[in-house]
Symmetry: C2
Subunit: 224 residues, 2 copies
């Protein structure tokens, strides 16, 4: 993979009424988010949209101009509500033949259903096992940047207890993105702190300072 | 609740880098999608966006004009990356005092953290148990339409086997939205068919015809 100067960005379009209705839990965003980090491609947005032609066409045309890559999942099966391929063809203004003109197939070893790539838009299945196979088949053709590395630590304190010190640490390390994610487990509130950067040595330095902060608060964190 | 003539729509903004990075699995969309269906409010879009002020402000201002209601989750805690409240104030052009001017608090019985409502935007926590309490606290103040009812049947056939008949059935019942959701379980492919409508009698009629179709294909479906 070559290393471009500009940040490489991506948007995921999750297409399907069943996700919006709450009946199906999406599992593709989590997979794609992790894998794109590893490839140095930053997932900037994910959008869940219904199986409606006007919405799909308009959204594809908006986001394919704003992001380096657009990934879509869902709506490429054989039933009447599978309209993604036709919508992609319409968005690009090309006829839908067996495959849209100008598209290249994305094979997968799991099923006979191929996805396809049209320009910077990669069209994949909604079923996670197929989507993942399609993504891995297409990944060598993507141009990424420096991988984003992360370290995270789980702390047995409410988020508020660490807020001030963490804010000060973030100010000292602008190149490390620091996130604080509270959770509730068995009636207790804890927090997971995540450090993300393309600069591994800066992450390690920040992690060391974070350990010292936690010690000063009378606790120790559990690093993943 | 009053019954408006126009469809009542909603958009969910899931705010947080941790969702986009794949480290945290969102659970709020599924809850909200189901509950809004029951209230006769149609969730038309969900968008996952990062903890970035420019993106949050711009997105809030775009979607609050397009949808009846906007729900946000995440970013209302006490740490440096919790910027949602400030962004909502900025989007509405009001100062952020203790609560943004013009906002009303959304209480919850789970924690001391309140959400707030500003115009048609309801700002809630990211932690599901708190978000759910906040939503239920705010729900009586929402104006919905006729509840959307759904029935679904799981069929032990690949999606393609039913595609043609289902398309014909959809043509006969334009007021019933029919979805076909393939899945893979233990190496076998099956499909879940979902009927959704505000007209219960039409759903029942379509379900009866669907049973006859399945029988003609030599199978029976399992209705939820």
């Amino acid at each position: 993979m070559s290393m471009p100067d500009q940040p490489v960005t991506a948007c995921l379009l999750i297409i399907g009424n069943e996700i919006l209705s709450g009946r199906t839990q999406d599992a593709n965003l989590a997979y794609l988010g992790r894998r794109l980090d590893e490839l140095g491609i930053r997932l900037m947005e994910a959008r869940v949209i219904p199986d409606r032609e006007d919405v799909i066409v308009e959204t594809v045309n908006e986001v394919r101009r704003r992001f380096t890559y657009v990934f879509t999942t869902g709506g490429i099966g054989p039933t009447h509500d599978d309209i993604t391929a036709a919508c992609i063809a319409k968005a690009f203004g090309v006829p839908l033949i067996v495959n849209p003109e100008g598209a290249s197939l994305i094979e997968n070893p799991v099923s006979k259903a191929p996805g396809f790539r049209m320009g910077n838009v990669l069209v994949m299945a909604g079923i996670p096992v197929i989507m993942q196979a399609q993504f891995e088949s297409a990944a060598p053709g993507l141009t990424g940047g420096k991988p984003l590395v992360s370290r995270s630590v789980t702390v047995d304190l409410p988020e508020g207890a660490i807020a001030r010190d963490l804010g000060a640490l973030q100010d000292s390390y602008p190149e490390v993105e620091m996130g604080s994610y509270p959770f509730s487990r068995g009636g207790r509130f804890g927090v997971r702190l995540v450090l993300r950067s393309t600069e591994t040595d800066r992450i390690e330095a920040a992690a060391g300072e974070l350990d010292a902060i936690l010690a000063s608060l009378g606790t120790t964190g559990m690093w993943d």
